[in-house]
């Protein structure tokens, strides 16, 4: 499993957002996207997820062309965006139902990994911003996709939760997964490659 992108170019209306970005992450590897606001980190993550089509360039995952079959590529992507994609009307556990049906892990393990087990029956509208972020991370863990694309994953997390996030990513990499993280703050990610943008 290897993520490879070559010469990605993205325009947003008339503005050049990504200008010939190339990257390669091997199995078990981690890549940090760094750069000021507006440098195109989120855009690059959406391109890598197959949610946005680049104007030029190639993207391959596991040897297959990811741009040709975005729906099939999406099945191997775990994407954590700016928004947590949590339905306030459902309980914590119910919010994980879709990922639980498509993934292979028991939901309790993922909730425990983010210290949310005690809140499992709580309506999600009662969660704090940090707890919602942890729930989104639990869903990521539960779905068990091999390619993780994380946009500011530590947003709103307390120090203990950032440690848990580090452990989560380390476990994912130990299992051969690939992770690409856009971040402004230091994360507990040893030996991660760095890609400055902008």
């Amino acid at each position: 499993m290897r993520l490879q992108a070559e010469e990605l170019v993205v325009f947003r209306s008339e503005r050049l957002v990504l200008d010939g970005v190339s990257l390669a992450v091997p199995a078990g590897g981690a890549l940090l996207l760094l750069g000021p606001n507006g440098a195109g980190k989120s855009t690059l993550l959406r391109v890598l997820a197959g949610l946005k089509r680049p104007d030029a360039g190639r993207l391959s995952w596991d040897g297959a062309d990811a741009l040709a079959e975005p729906a099939a590529h999406g099945a191997s992507v775990g994407y954590l965006g700016h928004q947590d994609a949590i339905k306030p009307g459902l309980t914590v556990l119910e919010n994980l139902a879709l990922a639980a049906r498509l993934g292979r892990r028991p939901p309790a393990d993922s909730l425990a990994a983010l210290d949310l087990l005690a809140l499992a029956g709580l309506p999600s509208r009662l969660l704090s911003a940090g707890q919602r972020r942890r729930l989104a991370l639990a869903r990521l863990h539960l779905a068990g996709a091999p390619l993780w694309l994380l946009d500011e994953p530590s947003l709103g997390l307390d120090a203990a939760s950032v440690e848990r996030l580090g452990a989560l990513i380390a476990g994912h990499r130990a299992a051969g997964g690939v992770v690409v993280v856009a971040t402004h703050v230091e994360l507990p990610l040893p030996d991660a490659a760095r890609l400055p943008l902008g």
Binding site: L51, A71, G81, Q83, A85, L90, L102
Partner: protein, 221 residues
């Protein structure tokens, strides 16, 4: 198939939690129907003559109500990204959403249509054909509505655009559906009208999800 069932069960779980949306469409349907006796007078024969048309127009308008939130809610909170990354092709994702929409609004409208028609003094003989037409019609409207909702996604004031998109597309459904019930009332066979309605459904079923799927991808770009 497993993914399709998973998305569909998510839709149904969400609408079970938000029964207000279903109830709003249903009450709108009944209330709009009740306005007609007030507006055109309670003469039983006039009402009975107009009943199928009234039921059809009210059903058409009631199906517009939940469209704004169909993709809008998921788009705003980022869930649409997750759904598109579930591995389900966008066209099937739209089909699952449209199926959920039909179960939560089309089906309740279908159940309420007979009482409303009887209340408007419709000839009981036309009820089976009226309901058969509405069954095909609400399925068409769910698909057309999903297409329109996906198309206006991300547009400013999309909710205002929705009826302008849906109503012209829905006119064939309205024409054939109301004509089928009228044919029975006039002693003719409703068969050609129902077959044309089925043909509209057969055309909409593949075309609307594919077009809406492409619109969803474009909205997230």
């Amino acid at each position: 198939m497993r993914r399709f069932a998973a998305v569909l069960s998510r839709e149904l779980r969400l609408s079970l939690r938000h029964t207000g949306d279903t109830l709003a469409a249903l009450l709108f349907f009944l209330l709009a129907g009740l306005l007609f006796p007030l507006a055109i007078g309670p003469a039983p024969q006039t009402l009975g003559r107009l009943a199928p048309g009234i039921v059809w127009v009210c059903a058409l308008l009631a199906t517009l109500l939940p469209l704004d939130r169909l993709f809008g809610a998921d788009w705003e909170d980022g869930s649409l990204d997750q759904l598109l990354l579930s591995g389900l092709p966008p066209a099937l994702l739209v089909l699952a959403k449209a199926a959920g929409l039909w179960v939560t609004t089309g089906l309740p409208l279908l159940l309420a249509a007979a009482p409303l028609a009887i209340m408007l003094n419709a000839n009981p003989a036309i009820l089976p054909v009226l309901l058969a037409g509405l069954l095909l019609g609400t399925l068409c409207l769910a698909l057309i509505g999903a297409l329109a909702a996906a198309t206006v996604l991300g547009a400013r004031r999309g909710g205002v655009l929705l009826p302008l998109l849906v109503l012209p597309l829905a006119t064939p459904v309205l024409i054939f559906g109301a004509a089928a019930a009228d044919a029975v009332a006039g002693g003719l066979t409703p068969r050609p009208h129902l077959l044309l309605l089925a043909a509209v459904l057969a055309g909409t079923l593949p075309v609307a999800p594919i077009a809406a799927g492409a619109a969803l991808r474009a909205a997230l770009e």
